[in-house]
């Protein structure tokens, strides 16, 4: 896959950094929402090159990480049923529920299959009319149109043995919840470029105005991030709070209206519980009444699942941006990408995995450790 040289322009990076140093006159805290952006920042060490006082807070933008434990447990219960073929994006298979993960269900004989698109799940349902095919419909605004379309196609084709376990989350209400939190430290946001490719940025405009925070729609290449940070810091220094678009090559203000339309038709907005954060009003999508027959949650009556979070995992504080992975006692020892205690260590987009893959280590805290 390495058919391209890594995209880097050191001269431009140096110029952007110099401008950032010249622009920042006092400390600012900026949150990157997207897990892909977190990965780039940490891997490239961009967060460590910033002017003193400019702090990046890593946000909750990892769909795998924020899927609530009770939904993972429901998925495990449904996947274990003998009549079910359970289909999912690959990165959900190792997310720990209260007792095990989907890979464990498969090891015990469950028919758990990885698909790369929800249309594959619909095709499997068509091929196996004697089985119940369930698709794990998770993710942010970026995956919602695809999952909505799968439900619509199944409905149009009259495929009755297909259903979806839905746990979609929406970014703007989460940003609002973070800003409303009493311990909020975030003064500006880098909004996830690909989320905005679907939804545009009109929903961010009232948030920027009401909370007086700059929001910069940003891509996830190193130079994108440097430019996005510079744009946010420039606004903070000038006392502006606008939505700006650094990722103009892929994102338009109104987003992808065809994708938005199918989401509006198939889903309805609902309160959603975010793993590690808790319930956030209007932050999720559930099936609209017209498509309720495709709801795996009711089809398999998964109510009554009892959840139990691992007490050693500080995923909630990580996802709210109040702690770093290296603050966790289990980080890199009892919790690694091979043996994750919580979702942020599982997903390639998770903050803990980004830190671990980049070799970040906890700061020595005692004389003995310093050696």
């Amino acid at each position: 896959m390495k058919y391209l040289d890594e995209y880097r322009d050191p001269a431009l990076a140096v110029k952007l950094l110099a401008e950032l140093h010249a622009t920042a006159t006092r400390p600012w805290a900026v949150m990157e929402v997207c897990g892909g952006q977190t990965h780039t920042l940490v891997r490239q060490g961009i967060d460590e090159l910033l002017p003193a006082g400019i702090r990046m807070i890593h946000g909750p933008g990892c769909p795998v990480c924020v899927t609530p434990l009770e939904v993972i447990d429901k998925a495990l219960a449904i996947a274990a049923r003998p009549e079910v073929i359970f289909t999912s994006y690959g990165d959900m298979l190792r997310v720990p529920g209260s007792a095990g993960d989907l890979l464990g269900v498969r090891a015990r004989g469950g028919d758990v299959r990885v698909v790369y698109t929800p249309l594959d799940a619909v095709r499997i349902a068509r091929q196996h009319p004697d089985r119940e095919v369930v698709f794990f419909a998770v993710g942010f605004e970026t995956t919602a149109p695809a999952n909505a379309m799968a439900v619509r196609y199944a409905a149009d084709a009259g495929i009755g043995n297909f259903s979806v376990l839905v746990s979609h989350v929406l970014v703007p209400p989460a940003i609002t919840a973070l800003l409303d939190a009493p311990d909020n430290q975030v003064q500006g946001f880098l909004a996830a470029g690909h989320v905005c490719a679907v939804m545009g940025w009109t929903e961010y405009e009232p948030i920027a105005a009401r909370y007086r925070v700059p929001i910069v729609v940003t891509g996830f290449e190193p130079l994108d991030l440097l430019e996005g940070i510079l744009m946010a810091v420039r606004q903070l220094e000038q006392g502006r709070s606008e939505v700006e678009n650094q990722y103009a090559r892929a994102v338009r203000r109104t987003g992808n209206t065809a994708a938005q339309e199918v989401v509006r038709r198939v889903f309805r907005v609902t309160e959603r519980n975010w793993r590690g954060i808790g319930p956030i009003p209007t932050s999720g999508l559930a099936l609209a009444a017209e498509f309720s027959a495709y709801d795996a949650d009711t089809r398999f009556a998964t109510t009554g699942v009892r959840t139990e979070e691992n007490p050693d995992c500080i995923a909630g504080a990580i996802l709210r941006g109040t702690k770093l992975p290296t603050d966790c006692a289990a980080y890199g020892t009892r919790c690694t990408p091979r043996t994750p205690l919580g979702a942020p260590m599982v997903s390639a987009e998770g903050t803990c995995a980004a830190f671990h893959n980049s070799g970040r280590r906890p700061a020595p805290s005692t004389v003995e450790e310093i050696g």
Binding site: G36, G90, D91, V114, Y116, F140, A348
Partner: protein, 89 residues
């Protein structure tokens, strides 16, 4: 599953039924996948699109596609996660 990968449309399938999804073949650095093109109706053969979970959501130009691919290349497991296990290198 949320990152999105740019690829080039190399074929658009004929549809048996107008209600069927518009499917095409997208080339991701040599690996080809069937992709739904319903959300990018203006994109044709040779155009670059950003693909999320089997659906094109945005059209971009070739140079920008190359830059984004290079960054994705540096993220562990991203190809396997986005395009399926056979995409692992």
């Amino acid at each position: 599953m949320c990152l999105g990968i740019p690829g080039r449309i190399v074929a658009i399938d004929d549809r048996a039924d107008p209600a069927d999804p518009v499917l095409g073949t997208v080339d991701f650095a040599g690996l080809r996948r069937s992709v739904c093109l319903d959300f990018t109706p203006a994109a044709g053969i040779g155009d670059y699109v950003i693909v999320h979970v089997g659906f094109a959501i945005s059209q971009i130009d070739e140079a920008e596609a190359a830059k984004t691919l290079a960054v994705l290349d540096a993220i562990p497991d991203v190809w396997e996660t986005e395009l399926g296990p056979e995409a692992a290198t």
